[in-house]
Structure formats: C-alpha cells, structure tokens
C-alpha cells in the first residue's frame, strides 16, 4: 500500500508494520492477562462489550494496537478482525502505529487556545526536535500531537504525556518537563 492510498494524513510507520508482520506474534491474552479479560467479561451481558477494555489491554501491554493484536482480540470475543478494526479506527486513543516512547498530547481547543496553547505546542515541537506534529523524533523518543479539549480547561494548557496528565503548562516549563523524562 502506498501513502496516497490511505490519504497520507499522518504518515504511518510502515517499516515497523512489516517488521511486526514478519515477527512471530506472541499472544497478549495468556496467564494473568487472560484472567483479567475473563473477569472483565463477567461485567457485561455480551462479549462484544468487552471490546474497548480488551483493546486497552493490548495497548497497555504492546504500546500500540497492531493488526495481529486486533485479530487476537477478535478471536477472544468472537468478532471478526474487520469488525474490530472498524471500531479501533473510530476512536482517537488507540495507536494504530507505533509511537514515540513519550506520546505528548497538547490541548489546543478554543478555551486553551485563547490562553496561549499554540505557544506550548511550538515549545514542545522545538524542544523535542520533532519539528512537526505527528512525527516521531529520530531516536523514537517523542511524538507530539494536538488534541481536542482534555476536560481541564481551567488549567490551561493541559498536556498528557502517555498516561500522565500535567496541568497549567506554559512554554517556559517545557524544557524542564522534558528533562524529567528518562
């Protein structure tokens, strides 16, 4: 597939896809993780309802949700891989490509926008050497993206770095924030 075929909006990292496809796939849902899924299934009257939680588990364990990951989830929940892919692509938080070790999301929706969020984005792009939104820095450390309202508008500008939620970020705080990351 070429980039044009998928619209080329965010350039996917095909090299890693190929690598992933060639590698033998280790299932996620074994041992404790399988038990975790079994417990989740008791919460809902249908297996399908465990789909979002199951995908979260895959992302937690692997860092992203690959095609093989989707196929495995499909098998666990009696769904087709195509169905699972349809759901994954609806939601913004599942990574369909590997991302930087630190995935940085900066809110730029109007309430943060009028408090200077654009400058925070610029500071991250500069100090991570990514230069551009959605691009992973050469050593694979950082990916910076803009995100819509994070539900913390009174603490402009909120930033998420992986699972960590940081409030009231200003451009001058960015170098220190990044220096903290190992």
């Amino acid at each position: 597939m070429t980039a044009e075929l998928v619209g080329g909006l965010e350039p996917p990292d095909y090299a890693s896809h190929d690598r992933a496809a060639r590698e033998q796939y280790d299932p996620v849902f074994t041992g404790d993780v399988k038990r975790e899924l079994d417990e989740l299934l008791t919460r809902y009257p249908t297996k399908m309802a465990a789909l979002l939680p199951a995908l979260w588990i895959v992302q937690r364990v692997r860092g992203w949700v690959s095609d093989q990951g989707m196929a495995e989830v499909a098998g666990q929940l009696d769904l087709t891989p195509a169905y699972v892919k349809g759901v994954v692509t609806f939601y913004t938080m599942y990574h369909q490509h590997p991302v930087g070790k630190y995935f940085i999301q900066v809110c730029t929706t109007s309430p943060c926008g009028i408090c200077g969020a654009e400058d925070v984005v610029k500071a991250f792009l500069r100090h991570t050497n990514t230069g551009e939104l959605g691009i992973t820095s050469p050593e694979g450390r950082f990916t910076v993206i803009e995100v819509e309202c994070l539900g913390a508008c009174g603490f402009a500008t909120p930033v998420m770095i992986n699972e960590e939620f940081i409030e009231s970020v200003t451009p001058d705080k960015v170098p220190d924030l990044l220096a903290r990351l190992t």
Partner: protein, 437 residues
C-alpha cells in the same frame, strides 16, 4: 468551592465542599463526612418514593439538556421482567467543562453512592460509569473507590445488607467527544463505533444492550444523595430566581479571567457578580468581550447579555444563550472572535461521527470558510454562505452535534459581525497590547 482557589463566601458548597481535601477520597474519610448515609436511607425506602423525592426537589439534568431527573427515573417501569441499566455519563468533553473531573477526583465515593441510589430507584442491578479515556486521574480514583465499596460490601450482591444486588463498573472510553451523546455512549459501551442512534426508541424503552436504561450526568447523580438526606424542600429553597431551577450548580470557569476554577452557586445567582467578584474579573489591562456560558455548544453572549443574566436554566435563555453544561468560557478583548469561533468549528468538524451529511459536510465547510475569513481571504458572501449552511445544519440530523456547530457561528456573526467584516475588508484585528499580570 472555587477550586483550586479558596471557597468564596458567596458560594454554596454542597457538592464541591471537599474539593482539595485528600482524605475525602478514601472510604474511611468519606464515611467520616457522612458518606453512604444517603444510600443507607435509600435502601430503606421504596424505589418509587425515592423517585418522588427527586421529582419534588426539582433537580434537572446537569449534563446539558436540563431534563427533570425524577421524571426521567419514573420512565423506568418496575416489574417489566427485563434487566434495567444505569449509565453514568462521565465522558465530559464539552470544551469549557471540567466539573465532573473535579467531582470524580476529589469525591469518587459520592459518585459511587449516587450511582447506587439511582440504580436502586430505577430497578437496575448494574450501573456503568463511562469515563473518557483521557481522564487518567479520575479513572484511578473511581476504580479505587469502587473497589473499596465492593470490599466493604456497600455495593455488590447484597448492597449494605439490603438483599439487593447493585454492581457498579467503571468503563474507560477511548477518545471521542460524540460518546458523550447518550445513545452514542450506549453504542460505545456495547463495543461499537460511537454513532448516535435515531430516537425514538428512547433509552428508557431500549437503551444499552436493548434494555430499559437511564442515563445521567455525574453531577446529577451526585446531587441525589444530599437531596435524599435533607429533603426536597431544602433543595427547592436553594434558588434565587424561579421554581423551575432549584439547587446548586457547579460552573467550571476558564479562558481569560483572573481565577479560573470550579465554583458552586445556587440557581439564580447574578452572573455579573459571579464573573467579577467570585472569579476575580478580567486580567490586568483587559476587558471582557464575550462569554460562552454553557460549553462550546451554546450561543455566545456579549457582555451586556452576560451581565444581565441570572444563572439558571431560564435566565441564560432569556439573555440569548443556555446554561448547558456549566462550562463558562470567558473571552477578553485581546482575542479575535473569528479565531475563537473558527477553532470551535474545527473541534466539531473533528468530532462529527459523520453519519449525517449535513453534519459531516456542514462542520467541514464551516471550518474551511471561517479559517479563510480568519486568514484575511474571506468575502462578504462567505457570511451569507455560513448562515445558510448553519440553517441546513440545524434540526435535521440524528443528534444535535450538528446544531451545536452552527450555534457559535450564528450567534458570533450576529453579535460580532463587525470583526468578521473588518477581516474581510482587509482590516486586521489589533489585539490590545496591555501587559498581562
């Protein structure tokens, strides 16, 4: 309270009393503060009596639409032989809104208690709390609180020894504003794409998993407990304006203002005093220009309207807007309105689920045209085109996201037309350059 600031003497803190108090997050701390007394009382009452107290109190939905909560609960018919479900809408993604986040991270047990009370009242054995995926901290505290409540047998197969089963589960969303729309939330909970459903059937007839379902906002459910403890009259009296709007309301305040944060005042509180006294007024050297008082989906108010508003469901409507979610976005004279509105339109274009043509195309074109006006490349005809598209986007789609995108455009052009025209005629917006302290 004006979290993260000190509580203001003019606030009435019922739901926000323990914001910032870490001890209130734990089960022991919550019980010390009178927690789970309301649930204990509820489990001793008949479900129909609980519904009546809530009806009597005048409580209305705090998620945006203001639907009477007791009435909504009364649609759930007991003894129909079907499983009933409660969904708690904790998807809070409406730009400007962050009150549910504070409720969940400071008083998670209040939400467990509210869910248990509502579940019992509507005959549901299962409640799902659907929390947006980005809320990692609220998710952490809610999961912890749910676990503590299970371990203490407050919820579970024999809730507080009542013989009733009440299960409460936290369900994590995955990034989609539209999943805050009630039927999209149910689709998402079922493991589908979050596309809103055509109504009817309404959730009380066919909701999640096709079963009778009640869905309420976090703040609505949390308000039920003090109402049960203190009575409907106590709640009704908390109003400075009219009997249709009762109790206290949380407002999350953001944008260009001295003290952004979450405030709690009684219905009918004067908005002018709220903005200038409680929230500290404009930043130094600036003036307020406009307010979007109920999240990005409600009409923009100019200051004349805002300063004349009494803060309740009817009061905001009387002054050209809506109470909505209580997300107050304050915009000062340093902000070009067209930029603000264009960014709001971009938000809706990004979040449209794209099922309806008017919404998918309308949000995208609205954004495109607004951005070209913003960049000084618009024409006067663009304003008419925008209003025309807005009309096509209103009242014609499966859910009201489409309408919501049209709202700031129409109100913005109506109230701040001069700024649009100036950009079109090549006069750039010159923000005030006063220093900001």
């Amino acid at each position: 309270m004006g979290f993260p600031h000190q509580s203001h003497s003019r606030e009435t803190t019922v739901l926000s009393k323990y914001f910032g108090d870490a001890d209130a997050r734990t089960l022991a701390g919550w019980k010390k503060r009178g927690g789970y007394k309301a649930l204990e009382k509820a489990l001793d009452m008949q479900p129909a009596d609980i519904v009546n107290v809530v009806k009597e109190s005048g409580l209305r939905g705090r998620g945006g639409a203001g639907f009477p909560t007791g009435l909504k609960w009364s649609f759930m018919k007991p003894g129909d032989g079907k499983p009933h479900y409660l969904c708690c809408n904790a998807d809070e993604s409406e730009p400007g809104t962050f009150k549910d986040r504070e409720l969940m991270r400071w008083t998670p047990h209040a939400l467990v208690e509210g869910c248990a009370i509502a579940a019992y009242a509507i005959g549901a054995e299962t409640a799902y709390i659907y929390i947006r995926g980005e809320f990692t901290e609220p998710l952490y505290w809610m999961e912890k609180a749910v676990k503590e409540a299970y371990d203490a047998r407050i919820i579970g197969k024999n809730a507080m020894g009542s013989g009733k089963r009440i299960d409460v589960y936290v369900h994590k969303g995955a990034g989609a504003y539209i999943c805050g729309e009630e039927t999209a939330l149910m689709e998402s909970l079922e493991g589908r794409r979050g596309n809103p459903r055509i109504k009817p059937p309404f959730p009380a007839v066919s909701g999640v998993f096709g079963m009778p379902t009640t869905i309420n906002n976090v703040e609505t459910l949390i308000a039920a407990a003090p109402i049960l403890l203190n009575g409907a009259d106590w709640y009704k009296k908390m109003s400075l304006s009219n009997p249709k709007s009762t109790g206290t309301k949380l407002y999350s305040v953001c944008g260009n203002i001295q003290r952004p944060g979450t405030y709690e005042v009684v219905m009918g509180f004067p908005f002018k005093e709220f903005l200038y006294d409680l929230c500290g007024g404009p930043l130094h050297g600036r003036k307020f220009k406009a307010v979007i008082p109920g999240g990005a989906s409600v009409p923009i108010q100019n200051m004349e309207e805002a300063e004349a508003t009494l803060m309740d469901y009817e009061g905001f409507v009387a002054q050209g807007s809506m109470l909505g979610s209580g997300g107050v976005i304050v915009i000062d004279d340093a902000q070009p309105m067209v930029t603000v509105i264009a960014r709001i339109a971009r938000f809706f274009a990004h979040e449209s689920c794209a099922q309806c043509t008017q919404c998918r195309e309308g949000t995208a074109w609205t954004t495109k045209i607004l951005e070209r006006i913003r960049d000084g490349e618009g024409t006067m005809e663009d304003l008419d085109t925008l209003l025309d598209i807005a009309e096509q986007m209103t009242g014609k789609t499966i859910c009201v996201l489409s309408d919501s995108c049209a709202v700031p455009v129409v109100s913005g052009i109506k109230k701040f037309r001069g700024e649009f025209e100036a950009l079109i005629q090549g006069r750039r917006f010159h923000p005030v350059t006063a220093a900001v302290a």
